[in-house]
Amino acid sequence: MKKAYTIYQSGDHRWQVIARDPARPNYLIDTNEYLISYQGQSLLTDPGGVEIFPAVFSALSEAGNPEQIKALFASHQDPDIISSLSMWLELNPTLPCYVPWLWAGFIPHFGGNQETFRPIPDEGMNIDLNGLTLTAVPAHFLHSPGNCHLYDARARILFSGDVGAALLPDDYASVFVEDFDRVIKAAAGFHRRWMGSNSAKLDWCERAAKMEIDMLCPQHGAIFRGEDVLRFINWFAELKVGVLALAK
């Protein structure tokens, strides 16, 4: 089963990652869900696919009180990101879900109604979590045409969706990047294929390099921290992605 690991704690402000599910069927891609908690309220990022909902919920309830989840955030529209939406709404029918506006008409196919969705404009927006400001940062075309990351300036953590994702082998136990070169090897193919635009990538790298980031938290793979964050941004800036990577 998945487990919750606390990756940041400062008083009543906490980030937890729900990661590493050795029990999952091997035809499902492994995912990381992040629970951001502040003064008794929580927001869950990319809550995952419908089939892994029991594992995510069990891990969350072991680590805390799932009743405190007051909002969901979906970086984009993929099923491994948000197809569990109907299950979360089963537990709390009034739970709001922040989504890039582009997908506000598509994600309801997974569940929800007009009251569920909080569309995020292209330029991003601030999201209030019981007094903590989280910022939805535009990351369009990385990889989805409507894509947002979530930045917590106080914790200096960026939830980066599929940017930084790596398809790690099952024996990679740590939730952090312990060996940059090993993880980057597993990330390269993923980024070349899934990131569609070099100019969008460079724009993101430029913005990310100016942000204060202690941890870069992807939706698959391991968390970059400390110097590895800028190392990753520089590596990504150099990488040819999308159609350029496929060009012979």
């Binding site: 089939e51 029991p54 799932p66």
Partner: protein, 196 residues
């Protein structure tokens, strides 16, 4: 799994209904043709004409009965899909809440109640399907009797006997196919007492 079997069954029921409706259409055309032939045969085929007209109204009734059957069956496609989805959600919820004891666990009872209500409504719709099936069966039995009478009437056709007998055999062939199709259809109906 049961609802998945139900869904497959309903799809097959719909396909079989289409075949019966197509046969009813052919019977209607054949009856029209038989009426024209009996007019040509004159007085000797007066009885044949009356029975052909009966077969024509039988075909219309059969098509209408199968239409109502099909409407209920189509409604069931969406209901069964919905129940299958609810069932899957309930299973996931039960797994998620198996080790959880907080207040959210009450949602499982709500989900169980919704599932039970859905199953009840599904059972009622399946009962309708059984009723449609019975009506169609009765109608076909009547059709078989009419077709037999037509064969008898053909023997009074004098010089037109062979031609009228050929038409009567054609009717018989069409109508005899329907009970076989209905038997296939029944195979896909869930048993009455155990509808989900």
């Amino acid at each position: 799994m049961q609802s998945q079997r139900n869904l497959v069954g309903i799809v097959r029921i719909n396909e079989t209904i289409k075949q019966v409706v197509s046969l009813a259409f052919s019977i209607n055309l054949l009856a029209l043709n038989a009426l024209v032939l009996s007019r040509q045969a004159g007085d000797a085929a007066l009885g044949f004409a009356v029975i052909s007209a009966e077969l024509r109204s039988f075909s219309r009734e059969l098509a209408a009965a199968m239409g109502a059957f099909s409407a209920t069956s189509c409604e069931l496609v969406s209901l069964v899909s919905l129940e299958a989805r609810k069932g899957h959600k309930h299973q996931l919820l039960a797994r998620a809440l198996s080790a959880y004891e907080g207040p959210l666990a009450a949602r499982l009872a709500v989900s169980s109640a919704q599932l039970a209500a859905g199953e009840k409504s599904l059972a009622a719709r399946f009962e309708h399907l059984h009723e449609h099936f019975e009506r169609a069966g009765l109608s076909v039995r009547l059709g078989t009797i009419i077709a037999r009478s037509l064969k008898i009437e053909a023997t009074y056709g004098g010089s037109h006997e062979t031609m009228l007998a050929q038409v009567a055999c054609e009717f018989d062939r069409y109508i005899e196919t329907i009970p076989r199709l209905l038997a296939e259809l029944k195979h896909y109906l869930p048993p009455r007492a155990l509808t989900l």
